[in-house]
Amino acid sequence: MIRKTLEARQVNRRELLALFGAGTVAAMGISLAGPALADAKSTAAAIAKVTGGKSAAAGKITLDTPQIAENGSTVPISVSVDSPMTDADHVKKVHVWAEGNPNPDVASFHFTTMSGKAKVSTRIRLAKTQNIISVAEMSDGSFVMAKSEIKVTIGGCGG
């Protein structure tokens, strides 16, 4: 009788341990996925603010980024939009966001017909491996979007 209860206890303990184990893994999963999701959400909110809820299609915009960035503190990026840049048809603005940064905003570029060519290059900071999104606002009120993933070896936000 005593032995039986002992066995039962052991099983219980094992089950409990297993449960705890699974619980911790699940909790870790949440804590790992949590901030990334929140950032993707805040990025989506920032994009919606710019486009006014209009959908941005893929198209004439090219986002040129490295596949792997060894140093996240300076990552070269380049955005170009295929446009004649005339009064009737030109690119007004190009916005860039980084989903996994503490603040998703990266930059906004304002073009005019005197720009001649809608292309801009700069260097940005990335905290970790993440998606970069750029949206261009055209003179006719439409939007085009491009997305690119950059793998970051060392984050660039400082500690």
Partner: protein, 109 residues
Amino acid sequence: MAKTKARVKAPKSAKKGEAFQVKTLISHKMESGQRKDKKTGKKIPRHIINKFVCTYNGKQVFSADWHPAISANPYMSFFVKAADSGTLEMAWTDDKGKTMKKSTKIKVS
């Protein structure tokens, strides 16, 4: 603070109506506001260049709003199309309201 140095690379002459590339580089630490002082543990306040404006003969050609995700010593290149000869002027403004300027003359034929 160290003296800020701005560098602009643009062609001396350009063909009328043809877009040419302008490369700009300015020295600025672009403090993101995320970093902590290792000794005191306090956050170092944000201090970045938040606005860049490029004008040609007084007319705005290109401008940019920068956020802390722009790297230190910001580099940027863009294009300009000119109809007449003139002066290309660049202006960077930082969080403390300080504006740094640099200009270059371009001959258009």
